[in-house]
């Protein structure tokens, strides 16, 4: 068996979701690593977009900022926030990866405050482009450690839309139709959303984990497929490309 850490596992699973020719809006860190890995494996024509304006760069190293020079290095275009977000709004962008301090059973995210908004325990950065990406991109994905403090019954603040209150609530909110949370990738499992209730549902377990492990590290009741397959482990080739070509400095995979 090949040895790998949990961050490498999540990045590899995420990369496999990005098919060739698709468009993906990413930030820095693990999502960017996943998109770069996809480009260097099955999806050479994956179009990577950064919200500050970079379109399909040939990333020479992991960017530090969503707007640093690397995000438009040898790119198709150094555009603007409006170039990117209006493309998302018009339905041109297939995927996005987002994160947050908290996520609920409908895939809504909090990156604004811990505690009350009026007098927060911790003030976090806010939406940034996350709310826009999640509103517009067809399929929103999240990579995050499986942890009770992150997977919560109720968000302290709903910064970024998932399926809102489930069912038809997102459709009724006025957000663009047929877009929303797609997959949640953690160190323990992969989840999707049950089509009617829009509740988070475990669809595969990462090697070495049981459904009980996932549920014990989640603050709300998870749905599950009856028969849960094991998520295929990262291959030697995937790990080698991730370690030598995507993130040789171990900026992300060393976390």
């Amino acid at each position: 068996m090949t040895d790998y850490n949990q961050m490498e596992m999540m990045i590899v699973i995420a990369a496999r979701e990005l098919e060739n020719g698709a468009t993906v809006g990413v930030g820095t860190g693990a999502p960017c690593a996943a998109a770069m890995l996809a480009q260097k494996t099955a999806s050479p024509d994956l179009v990577i977009m950064f919200e500050a304006g970079g379109i399909s760069p040939d990333l020479p190293e992991m960017p530090i900022s969503v707007g640093d020079s690397r995000t438009f290095c040898k790119a198709s275009m150094a555009g603007s926030m409006s170039t990117i977000m209006s493309s998302c709004a018009r339905g041109f962008v297939d995927y996005t990866f987002l994160g947050g301090a908290q996520i609920d059973m409908y895939g809504n995210l909090n990156s604004t405050t811990i505690g009350d908004w009026e007098s927060p325990k911790v003030r976090l950065p806010g939406s940034g482009g996350a709310n826009d990406f999640a509103s517009f991109c067809w399929k929103m994905m999240v990579m995050t450690p499986q942890d009770k403090r992150r997977f919560v019954e109720k968000l302290d603040f709903l910064t970024t839309p998932g399926w809102l209150e489930g069912g038809d609530s997102r459709k009724n909110s006025g957000l663009p139709e047929n877009a929303g949370p797609h997959k949640i990738i953690t160190n323990m499992a992969v989840m999707d959303f049950e089509p009617e209730s829009k509740r988070m549902r475990v669809i595969s377990l990462n090697p070495g984990y049981t459904f009980e492990d996932v549920q014990d590290n989640c603050g709300f009741a998870l749905l599950r497929l009856e028969d849960l397959p094991v998520t295929p482990a990262p291959t030697r080739e995937e790990l080698s490309i991730l370690r030598t070509q995507v993130d040789p400095g171990r900026v992300v995979i060393g976390r």
Binding site: S119, G129, G174, P176
Partner: protein, 330 residues
């Protein structure tokens, strides 16, 4: 259009386009030499209580020198548009120069972590906050730029970001679909850092535009800081490269390395150790006060700050980092 929902957040600036038009009617269009020191530009064009716009994005082509000067001159009670505002917000928070903010992204320095001083200032209760998304702020600037009081958009709906914003929701008169309507945002004064400008204010930059064109168009007063002033003939030879025309511009300040310690595309990369130093110093209030004294209040200008932090040799290293030639032999 009937208002279906209304966010509870304040709208800090007047979205009335006729007031903006009346302002621009009186703004001089004379093509004259607008070069001046950054100190004079801040003194002349930033009034206490003004609403401030800062160009760039997350310590990239951000007018950091201008932020230093605003803090050095101890401006007070400013409003601030925080769209992926990172090191700039950190500086402005350190100086406590603003007391209201349109917050799309702040407090953090992206992958580098959170700024302790921005966080504490926002948690202190001294700052009035309205929530927005990044694109909402760029659309709000676009509305002001277009001379309309609002624009419809389709993000923020259904979220607390909407509920704590100053947006309203209404049904579209053409399709019946629910839209978020966001009010025009016209800063009293904005700073944009570019690579080149002429003495009149015609300005051009390399790399991503972020929302700087919208910001420049929307702002009542506009100060351009630039890496270098070039002859007008240079600009006129390739007018298609001009992104901000002179008549919008009130002052042109030549500030080499004016985005340091952030990145300036094709010029210099961010000084990560120094940004880490900022974040480390913030942890202890006394040490941070001393740090600010040494790096801002006690510096006579931005050049003194650069000299203090490695001067030309540091700038040369950052240039090599930008072009990724720093691993190569000298």
């Amino acid at each position: 259009m009937d208002v279906l929902e209304k966010g509870s957040g304040a709208v800090f600036t007047d979205p009335d386009p006729d007031k903006l038009r009346a302002f621009f009617q009186t703004k001089s269009r004379i093509k004259k030499d607008k070069t001046m020191s950054l100190a004079l530009a801040v003194e002349t064009f930033v009034k206490d209580g003004d609403y401030l716009g800062i160009g760039g994005f997350g310590a990239n082509r951000t007018p950091i020198a201008a932020c230093h000067e605003i803090v050095r001159q101890k401006k007070k009670h400013l409003g601030f548009a925080g769209h992926t505002s990172t090191h700039d917000m950190q500086i402005l928070s350190a100086g406590r120069v603003y007391d209201r903010i349109d917050m799309a992204y702040g407090v953090g320095l992206e992958a580098r972590g959170l700024s302790g001083c921005s966080r504490k200032y926002l948690e202190s209760g001294e700052v009035k906050v309205s929530e927005w998304s990044n694109y909402a702020l760029s659309i709000r600037l676009q509305a002001a730029a277009m001379g309309v009081p609002f624009l419809p958009m389709r993000s923020m709906l259904g979220t607390d970001t909407f509920r704590f914003s100053g947006a309203v929701a209404a049904n579209c008169p053409f399709t019946g679909k629910k839209m978020a309507l966001v009010p025009a945002l016209s800063p009293d004064v904005s700073f944009v850092h570019v690579h080149e400008a002429d003495i009149y204010g015609n300005a051009r930059f390399e790399g991503i535009a972020v929302a700087d064109i919208e910001l420049a168009n929307a702002s009542k007063r506009l100060v351009i800081t630039c890496e270098r002033i070039v002859p007008h003939e240079e600009i006129a030879r390739e007018p298609h490269k001009t992104q901000i025309p002179y008549f919008m511009v009130d002052a042109v300040c030549e500030v080499p390395f004016g985005a340091y310690p952030g990145t300036m595309p094709n010029a210099y990369f961010s000084d990560e150790p120094h940004l880490k130093e900022w974040m480390a110093e913030e942890r202890d209030p006394e040490a941070f006060a001393q740090f600010l004294e040494e790096n801002i209040y006690g510096c006579k200008d931005f050049q003194a700050y650069i000299d203090r932090n490695g001067g030309m040799e540091k700038m040369r290293q950052l240039r090599r980092r930008e072009f990724m030639t720093d691993g190569e032999a000298e």
